[in-house]
Symmetry: C2
Subunit: 174 residues, 2 copies
DNA sequence: ACTAGAAAGATTGATATCAATATAAAATGG
DNA sequence: CCATTTTATATTGATATCAATCTTTCTAGT
């Protein structure tokens, strides 16, 4: 007779999970794309995440941290950490918000803008090459589907609503 | 006249990048899905990544590290690190490969299987709920597109081909 | 005004991620 | 068989990610 501690999960289940898990597929694609852009952007001295973050700071008015974290769908504490190396490089300046002294305003410095400007053509090339390699129409469709997924997991103010990305809303819309 | 150090990137460019960058969208979706599954799996004591990793070890024959890293599209060094907490918990055992003494074989322990079995129904529920919330047909399509992207960035044996994920091939196909 | 609660960030600790590099063992070509 | 190369994995150091928790400041209700 079978021993009670022998829990066997059928191999077919493993194959099912491997083939269907959206989370796994998303992690894999995210890692693959991160490497692609990290490699391309390396000569410009920044990573894909730093590029996205700095680009999101390029606005008429310096934004506070919360909305930026929400836009990037990252934890607020992750943003705090991600800013550190950019501050050290002098690319981003974190200043007190005179209107709300709890808050901070994130400002792209002149050098930050210069770095971003150097990275921009690389991003354009890399993204164009990627688009081209994808089957026709995949790119726009994938973008749309990813956005749906990102936005969908947000409406859950369960514990104490401490997480940032609840409203991926029109943070940057203007 | 404009000062030479004043590099201005138009806000419209920022909006373009935000809206079109597949890498950014992938990172956001990956973070959102990771949180969704991490939250759901927390009672079972593992994260989405640990779930995927352990599930990929549930096979007839214990696999070496390289193919597992390739399957998950992660760096081999990331896999080494990711195994540490699982080894400490006694869920995964890393043993020498008698056939190739450079290599290791990754074995799911009895307790590991038990933990995985406890997590499985949670995964099923969570994934079913996710599927249901997605517009009709989105799930399968997204999965397909993500797989295309993951597989596409692989055929680049540029530097010294040190990276794992070159062949996402039929590692687990049997 | 006061006070309770909410909101914005920061800190700490754990894990995840990858580049650069190192080590050991297998494979390969004389 | 030996030297070179390749392959499999580990180590170190930096950044990314999040949970839990803390402080400060603002807002609401009285």
């Amino acid at each position: 007779m079978a021993m009670s501690n022998s829990v066997e999960i059928p191999f077919s289940t493993t194959l099912l999970v491997r083939d269907t898990c959206l989370c796994l597929h998303a992690q894999r694609a995210a890692r693959a794309l991160a490497r692609l852009f990290d490699d391309a952007l390396r000569p410009a001295g920044l990573t894909n995440g730093q590029f996205s973050l700095m680009m999101s700071l390029n606005r008429p008015e310096p934004p506070p941290m919360g909305p930026v974290a929400a836009l990037l769908a990252m934890d607020q504490t992750t943003l705090t950490a991600a800013l550190k190396p950019l501050q050290r490089k002098g690319w981003v300046s974190v200043m007190e918000n005179p209107k709300d002294r709890r808050g901070r305003l994130l400002v792209l410095t002149g050098e930050g803008k210069a770095a971003l400007a150097r990275a921009l053509p690389i991003w354009k090339e890399t993204h164009a090459a990627l688009d081209q390699k994808l089957p026709d129409g995949s790119s726009a469709r994938l973008r749309q589907d990813l956005q749906t997924v990102s936005g969908m997991t947000d409406e859950t103010p369960k514990p104490a609503a401490r997480r940032a990305g609840r409203v991926t809303a029109r943070v940057m819309a203007e």
